[in-house]
């Protein structure tokens, strides 16, 4: 397990992405899976930066772990902001016409669809969200 803690601001999304990409590249991750994971980092780190601390300062930790038996990458996001389980959020209606479209919620929906599994827990005052992706 390796991890990186950053100030939870959107300017740090590239640093979080570079950190995970480095781990994935060392494991010869397929390009498609890496791009999907990068999109997931963009969505989730952005959510923490924008909403977890209600505009105040805070940190976000990104952790990487790997199960070689089935080549599953586990990417965990932790923050100490207000409790928020993104998996409880209702899926957006993706059949609506352009003018009726709300973009809110689309990011998490996209992550749900492209990752193999996601698990959320609130533990020791922290939101802990883990993504599982076969690479």
């Amino acid at each position: 397990m390796t991890e990186l803690t950053l100030k939870a601001v959107i300017e740090n999304i590239p640093a979080a992405t570079a950190f995970i990409d480095e781990q994935l590249e060392a494991l010869d991750c397929a390009m498609r899976a890496q791009m999907q994971i990068d999109v997931a980092i963009d969505e989730l780190f952005c959510n923490i930066a924008r909403y977890a601390y209600d505009g105040g300062d805070g940190e976000a930790t990104v952790k990487f772990d790997f199960d070689p038996s089935d080549r599953t990458a586990m990417i965990t996001f932790e923050d100490s902001g207000k409790p928020f389980d993104p998996l409880q959020k209702a899926d957006p209606d993706v059949t609506l016409a352009a003018e009726d479209r709300a973009i809110g919620g689309l990011g998490i929906f996209l992550v749900k669809k492209t990752m193999d599994d996601m698990k959320y827990r609130y533990e020791n005052g922290k939101n802990v969200l883990t993504l599982y992706k076969h690479i």
């Binding site: 999304i13 969505e43 952005c46 993706v94 016409a97 973009i103 990011g107 929906f109 996209l110």
Partner: protein, 98 residues
């Protein structure tokens, strides 16, 4: 992300290179704001775009709506990863993708 704009008559082509995400979407938004007034048609060329996140979708939707009262917006040369995002989010039904 790199943004290359080419004006051909009334048709504006915007070619993106790199990643269209939370960090770079505001750059595209700004580029569109500067150029859309003079364009009747908009072509978004994604041949060198690696991926798109929901922040990028938001900007595309807004451009699509702006262009609908004119000659429309087309998205061309979409790679598989971007296509999957369009399919999953229902954007494949909204946008004119070639």
């Amino acid at each position: 992300m790199t943004i290359n704009k080419t004006m051909n008559g009334n048709a504006l082509t915007i070619a993106l290179e790199g990643r269209l995400d939370t960090t770079t979407a505001p750059e595209l938004e700004q580029a569109l704001k500067e150029s859309l007034d003079s364009a009747q048609e908009l072509i978004m060329d994604f041949s060198k775009l690696d991926y798109i996140s929901s922040a990028g979708l938001r900007v595309l939707l807004s451009a699509h709506k702006t262009m609908r009262t004119k000659g429309g917006m087309k998205v061309v040369n979409v790679n598989e990863i971007v296509k999957e995002v369009f399919d999953v989010t229902g954007f494949a039904d909204i946008l004119d993708i070639e």
